[in-house]
């Protein structure tokens, strides 16, 4: 009898405990995430978040690989041998709207930048210096917002297909306007340049980052020189480049160090680069793995590239053979190598070209020749569009720039080698020079117009 009594008591207790369950007892644990209202209260929180934006830039769908390689494989610099089935479609200009390409990553970066930009610094916890650093972070966010919109504009805008449409320029986060329309190219460019100016104004030289893995004050100017040059705002381009040059922070890498400079992170010529490491890299989706090796190694260099360099040019050292295959051996030598977004040599060439367009040929030639001078290459005797194109190709090859250089100069994509993924040239103005807006975007937002030529 007693035993049973005890059991009844246990019974009653157990029942009682679990009958008394309430709504609050159902609150889930939150051990890996924070609620938004607790996530952005200090400058440390802001620093963590801007790193999240940098991290998004490093994704293999963006600067981690696809953005650079998709641009490169559409030029007569390289082709895809299809070894892992990658980049043939891009090389053939055969992309379809089913791909999101950089659209999602770029707007993902922009969303984070907007969260940071809209954060009222005055209500942050922290010292005066903390708040200054918070403003510096906001400056980086402006620069990042500009960079991402610029990449989107280049890729999806209609500037090379004789249209007017750019991309939606997003300046707020969670504003409720989730169905933006495409804006004009000019309006995009204005916004980008304005954001870069804000970035420059907000960033503080005291927080200069010697690792180059975070943007500093003059990173904004360097990017501005690129944007202005690409959109033919020559004076802007010249001024911005000049500001970088005058800062005296950066220098052209020497001939001796040229090849090795791609192995070392944070070189004197680097203005802004993205951090990759032995533990944080894109692995098999890295640039290294697509440019070399037998597992992927899809991207092979076209033979015509051999002929663009003088015999003594140190940039020959970038090229090499794996078996019979001509390869980019020097740039992105390791999956742990940082990826440079902009470097000083480009700024020099931006300045030179802007000066040339402004009619200051002497200044232009002097600066144009600075780069070959440090490469043991022959000097140019004149400035011309062709010479700028050639020097930029030589210097920035495999870095995803040549494609835009060809297009912004109104050039066709020519067929120079039988191995190229295209068999017929792509003429300037061809609809395929603007990437298709992703179908997923069009499905979700009927305010977005597709680029001409792409079916639904």
């Amino acid at each position: 009898m007693k035993k049973n009594n005890i059991i009844y008591i246990i019974f009653a207790v157990v029942c009682g405990v679990f009958l008394s369950c309430s709504t609050e007892d159902l609150d889930p644990s939150l051990e890996q995430s924070k609620r938004s209202e607790e996530a952005l209260n200090s400058v440390g929180d802001m620093e963590g978040l801007i790193k999240g934006a940098y991290n998004r830039l490093t994704s293999s769908g963006y600067y981690g690989r696809d953005y650079l390689v998709t641009n490169e494989v559409r030029t007569p610099n390289v082709f895809s041998n299809g070894n892992s089935g990658r980049f043939i479609t891009q090389g053939e200009f055969g992309y379809l709207p089913s791909s999101t390409y950089i659209w999602d990553d770029a707007y993902g970066v922009i969303a984070i930048a907007n969260i940071l930009i809209s954060r009222d610094i005055s209500t942050l916890e922290g010292s005066e210096e903390d708040l200054a650093y918070a403003r510096h972070i906001q400056g980086q966010a402006y620069a990042m917002r500009a960079l991402a919109h610029f990449d989107l504009l280049l890729t999806y805008g209609q500037q090379y297909t004789s249209g007017d449409l750019g991309v939606p320029y997003i300046t707020g986060f969670g504003t409720g306007d989730d169905f933006p329309s495409r804006e004009s190219i000019n309006s995009n460019v204005d916004n980008i340049l304005a954001d870069l100016q804000s970035a420059f104004d907000l960033m503080d030289e005291d927080f200069y980052d010697a690792s180059k893995e975070f943007m500093s004050k003059y990173s904004a100017k360097a990017l501005e020189s690129r944007v202005a040059l690409y959109f033919e705002r020559w004076q802007d381009a010249s001024d911005a480049a000049e500001a970088v040059i005058d800062s005296g922070i950066y220098s052209i890498v020497s001939a001796d160090n040229y090849a090795s400079s791609f192995m070392d992170d944070g070189g004197a010529n680097s203005i802004f680069e993205l951090a990759f490491s032995g533990t944080d890299n894109a692995g098999s989706n890295s640039l290294e793995f697509i440019y070399r090796g037998g597992t992927y190694g899809d991207i092979q260099v076209l033979e015509n590239v051999l002929s663009i360099y003088d015999a003594d040019d140190v940039r020959n050292d970038i090229l090499g053979y794996e078996g019979d295959l001509l390869r980019n051996m020097g740039k992105y030598p390791d999956r742990a190598s940082n990826v440079i977004v902009i470097r000083y040599e480009e700024v020099i060439l931006n300045y030179a070209e802007a000066e040339f367009r402004l009619g200051n040929n002497a200044e232009a030639l002097e600066f144009l020749n600075m780069v070959p001078e440090y490469r043991n290459a022959e000097q140019y005797s004149t400035v011309s569009e062709d010479n700028f194109l050639l020097e930029r190709r030589k210097e920035l090859i495999f870095e995803g720039q040549y494609y835009w250089d060809l297009l912004r100069n109104g050039r066709d994509i020519e067929v120079l080698n039988i191995n190229q993924n295209i068999t017929d040239p792509i003429e300037y103005g061809d609809y395929r020079l603007a990437y298709p807006i992703p179908l997923a975007e069009i499905d979700a937002n009927s305010n977005i117009t597709q680029n001409p030529g792409y079916g639904g």
Partner: protein, 1019 residues
């Protein structure tokens, strides 16, 4: 004190009496049924003891008992009888069929019901259809057995998950998997696999088929509403075997057999065929511009101008050796075996069932095995007159040596079959592995790479029932735990394959999950004249906790040491904890009047941690009614109609099957940059998020005619799902791709029928056959809209084109329509739009259009036949699914005559039908030297209809006399074949038609065909 003394005295008295009168005597007799036929296997037990025997095949028994004791005769389906031992030494008993007992009791999770009292459509499958099926997971036994249940295998790798859909799909973006309930407790049986690129592992693989008594499939709201928010996708109730009182019986169930792929699938091209296509492609692509006119000239051009980037010259120089990678990666006649020993017994106050089993299966591809060791102990005991304790416990350890599968992973043996060029030889001349193959040599990989899952699962389910002093009122408390320990190890060798570029790669995943369920319930039943009531009130609390640990590293120091301890560079470490909670209050009751009119009602209130405080609770309910016409006077004497019931039910169930924490606006911290941690916004969140609800109407007719020789059901259902947990696609400009909202609606309607015919019933010869058929008509009624009022369709895979929007089926195929290969030019053409009036060769200019079918079969059917003759028996069972379409994935690389096939990888022999000259009528375009982008189009969308002969069993039950002479109570030997025959409607569908719920063919182990030889021995 006085009471205790009294008790002791009584006990003493009893002992004395026992001592005085306990004279043993032997009682013998025969037990027969009402027709005088002997009943073998009847339990004959001395009441209040564990002294018991069973009748033999002639219904005879012999037992030693004290005179004055009572014998209890019991047999399933018959009313038990008690007889006092008097002076006679012979007691012959005639057992009468127990009408109530004969009426099958269906286990429905929280409650069990007699068929007559049911108002919905629930199908129960019993152990004889479950045990000794040569498959690792018990759900595979359901295929073809339940009208409206569709099951497809995600992979033939043993232990892999199955996709189950009951009555179509209820949700677009929340889960569509049914809820599993084991012994009354909701459990989680999803994929436990540690890496999505490796083989999946179903948590169900931890259960031994032989420990399962029955599986019920609950389909309508009157049955599923008790599971409230998780009932909308149907419920699968698994009941494990419980003890059977009587003499301890020991069974040995064993089988051994072999498996091969059920379907050969596409065959890879030989090297010679591939070479021929290459030259032809060069001729087609460059012939005109470079004046090539013959394949020989094209060959020269290939070697001289194009540079032979694909290694043909070396192969030609070596004498064109052929390698068939399909054969190299196949594990022919993969062994499969299972051995289970079980015992059951007990007395009238306790019983037990215990088992120990071993299952082992090799995959039909190299490098993959599965085994399971399991034990169970189920025990029930009356602690006192009013207290009953019951526990069921299962512990098992499964091991799966998996492979990379599910996509074209280069190191997967399945990829090697089609992707490795036949030019590549597996071995070097000196017999060592050739490590220079285009894809890593799978023979080396299978020996040196590791994808191992170890899964331990302990299920313990304990209950205490108190039959209160109020008659027929009982109180039950249940506590159960489902503890799962999962360990996954991956290693990639340093020499070749995925780890070669980092000097090896290793990872380890450890996951421990515990699911606790506590239930308290009150049950009351009674009869007031002809009014019968049965009411259950229940409170339940479920808690899930998941502890996860992951680490990875590369730069291994040496070969052969594969643990992370030997990694020189730890690359990743992660640990996390997550949980969810569900709390519920439930009332369910049924009433019948004289078993003629049945009413039942259910209400459940449920709170779920997946929603915010304000939206956490939901109310679910159902009503059902049935009319047992055969109980009416006008039918009760009918010779023709034995059972006739009209039934109907309507109710509201829910679905909350989405990830945790979707309602909150969160920042995540599992990112890093430049060596330090980083954060990012996880999503918009949605504090308004709440239950997705389904309203299901179910009506039906159950019948049994001609002494129940003809039995069956007819039914119709209509399920409307509303406020869908819709992962609404967002403009990427928001920074996110989607946000969960309660929006949209969908309906599924269908007819279901089951029929079983006992054509011949006799002592020596029986013949029965039957089947089931079910339709599903699925339509999306409403989806989210954007600011302009334009529908936002939801897509499964933008490229592969499965799309749902108002008016379409859920995930209807949506892609350009192929218009054939132009006979003049040999290129693929596509219709520009749905009018099909114009064609284009530019894929980008072809509109995507709905293709009128989804991956969900609209018609499924099962058939079964049983014959037995003098101990021999034959069972056959088949499954049909149709009305759906299946897409052939990977055609871009394997089934289009381009450079991927002729240069980089390999392709199918179907490509030999390519267009060659003007006038050729063929499905295959002309060969080209170059890659091609993904062009998802209807050319590769095939009718999915197939019929599969699922099981054929031929066996023999040994003559009772022989069996008894060797000390056994039963012996059976059988030969069983699985997936013996497959019919596929569409000749162009070469892959196995049984693909996972996505409807895409996949690079996985196909379903297998097996033959096993088995025995059941009962002692």
């Amino acid at each position: 004190m006085k009471k205790t003394l009294h008790g002791l005295l009584t006990l003493f008295m009893v002992l004395v009496v026992q001592l005085v009168f306990a004279q043993e005597k032997t009682v013998t007799g025969t037990v027969v049924d009402e027709e005088g036929l002997p009943l073998p296997g009847v339990n004959v037990i001395q009441k209040g003891s564990n002294n018991g025997v069973q009748t033999n095949f002639d219904g005879e028994y012999s037992i030693n008992v004290p005179s004055g004791s009572i014998l209890v005769f019991s047999y399933v389906g018959f009313a038990p009888q008690e007889r006092s031992i008097g002076s006679s030494d012979t007691i012959n008993v005639t057992l009468a069929v127990d009408a109530a007992a004969l009426d099958e009791v269906v286990v429905m999770g929280y409650v069990a019901k007699r068929r007559e009292d049911m108002t919905g459509s629930t199908v129960q499958i019993d152990s004889d259809q479950i045990n000794q099926i040569p498959q690792a997971t018990v759900d595979q036994a359901l295929q073809g057995r339940v009208a409206g249940l569709q099951i497809s295998s995600s992979s033939g790798t043993p232990g892999s998950t199955q996709d189950i859909r009951i009555r179509g799909i209820s949700s677009l973006t929340a889960g569509n998997e049914p809820l599993y309930v084991i012994d009354g407790v909701p459990v989680i049986n999803s994929n436990v696999g540690g890496n999505s690129s490796s083989s999946s592992l179903s948590a169900l693989a931890s259960l031994s088929n032989n420990d399962i008594e029955s599986i019920s499939v609950l389909k309508d709201a009157s049955a599923t509403a008790v599971y409230g928010a998780r009932g909308a996708n149907g419920v699968i109730v698994i009941t494990t075997k419980s003890g059977k009182a009587g003499k301890t019986r020991i069974s040995l169930n064993s089988y051994y057999g072999f498996s091969n792929n059920a379907i050969d699938g596409p065959q890879p091209l030989s090297g010679a065929q591939r070479e021929m296509l290459l030259y032809e492609s060069v001729l087609n692509t460059y012939g005109e511009n470079y004046n090539l006119s013959t394949p020989e000239e094209a060959a020269d051009f290939y070697f001289d101008q194009l540079g032979d980037g694909y290694g043909y010259q070396d192969w030609i120089d070596a004498g064109r050796p052929e390698a068939n990678w399909g054969e190299l990666v196949t594990n022919d006649d993969a062994p499969i075996q299972e051995h289970v020993v079980s015992a059951t017994g007990g007395t009238d106050d306790y019983n037990f069932y215990t088992s120990f089993g071993y299952f082992e299966q090799e995959a039909t591809v190299i490098g993959s095995t599965f085994d399971r060791v399991s034990g169970s102990l189920n025990f029930s005991k009356d602690l006192s007159e009013s207290l009953e304790f019951s526990t069921s416990n299962t512990a098992s350890h499964t091991f799966q040596d998996g492979i990379l599968e599910g996509s074209a992973y280069f190191s997967s043996p399945h990829s090697a079959k089609y992707f490795t060029p036949p030019l590549n030889q597996p071995y070097n001349d000196d017999g060592t592995f050739n490590l220079g193959t285009a894809l890593p040599n799978p023979l080396y990989i299978s020996e040196n790479d590791i994808d191992e899952s170890k899964f331990t699962r302990i299920l313990s389910n304990n209950s205490l029932t108190w039959h209160t002093p109020i008659q027929n009122l009982s109180l039950k408390s249940r506590a159960s735990i489902d503890y799962q320990v999962y360990d996954y190890k991956r290693y990639r060798n340093r020499v070749t394959g995925d780890g070669s570029s980092t000097d090896g790669y290793g990872e380890r995943t450890s996951r421990k999950t515990a699911t606790y369920v506590f239930q308290n319930s009150l049950n009351y039943f009674n009869a007031f004249g002809n009014h019968n009531v049965d009411i259950t009130v229940l409170q339940e609390y479920q808690e899930y906790r998941n502890n996860y640990l992951f680490a990875a590293g590369d730069s291994f120091v040496t070969d052969g040491l594969t643990n992370l301890a030997s990694s020189g560079n730890p690359t990743s470490a992660s640990a996390s904890f997550s949980d969810w909670y569900i709390s519920s209050y439930l009332a369910t009751g049924s009433y019948n009047f004289d078993s003629k009119y049945v009413l039942n009602a259910t209400y459940r209130r449920e709170g779920n941690s997946r929603f915010s405080d304000d939206n956490r609770w939901g109310n679910f309910w159902a009503f059902g009614a049935a009319w047992n016409l055969h109980r009416e006077s006008f039918l009760s004497d009918s010779e023709f109609v034995n059972n006739l019931k009209i039934r109907g039910s309507y109710g509201k169930t829910g679905n909350a099957n989405i990830g945790i924490n979707n309602y909150q606006v969160l920042f995540n911290y599992n990112a890093d940059y430049a060596g330090t941690g980083a954060s990012y916004p996880a999503g918009y969140g949605n504090p308004d998020l709440t239950w997705e609800t389904s309203y299901t109407l179910d009506v039906g007719l159950d019948f049994g005619l001609l002494q129940n020789r003809l039995t069956g059901t007819l039914g119709y259902y209509d399920r409307r799902s509303e406020d869908l947990l819709f992962d609404v696609p967002l403009s990427f400009t928001t920074g996110f791709s989607s946000q969960y909202r309660n929006v949209g609606s969908m309906k599924n309607t269908g007819f279901e029928a089951e029929l079983n015919i006992d054509a011949v019933r006799s002592n020596d010869f029986n013949f029965s056959f039957g089947g089931n058929v079910a339709t599903v008509d699925n339509e999306v009624l409403e989806v989210a809209q954007d600011a302009n009022g334009v529908d936002i369709p939801v897509t499964n895979n933008v490229a592969a084109g499965q799309r749902s929007t108002a008016g379409t089926m859920a995930y209807e195929w949506f892609m350009p329509t192929w218009a054939g290969v132009d006979p003049e030019t040999g290129v693929d053409t596509y219709y520009t739009d749905e009018t099909r009036s114009e064609t284009t060769t530019d894929f980008g200019q072809a509109d995507r259009v709905f293709q009128g079918a989804s991956a969900l079969p609209t018609l499924t059917a099962g058939v079964n036949i049983h014959v037995d003759f003098k101990g021999f028996f034959l069972d056959a069972q088949g499954y049909y699914a149709g009305g759906h379409k299946i897409y052939e994935a990977w055609h871009r690389y394997l089934n289009q005559p381009n450079l991927y096939v002729t240069g980089v990888y390999n392709g199918y022999t179907s490509l030999l039908d390519r267009w060659q000259q003007p006038g050729d009528q063929t499905r295959v375009a002309r060969a080209v030297y170059g890659g091609q982008p993904w062009t998802y189009n209807s050319k590769f969308l095939f009718d999915g209809d197939y019929f599969r002969l699922r099981n054929v069993t031929f066996g023999y039950d040994l003559e009772p006399e022989i069996v008894e002479n060797i000390g056994m109570s039963g012996a059976r030997i059988f030969l069983r074949g699985t997936n013996l025959y497959t019919w596929v409607k569409d000749d162009n569908l070469v892959y196995d038609p049984e693909v996972d719920a996505s409807g895409m063919t996949s690079i996985v182990t196909p379903p297998v065909q097996s033959f096993i030889l088995g025995v059941n021995l009962n002692f």
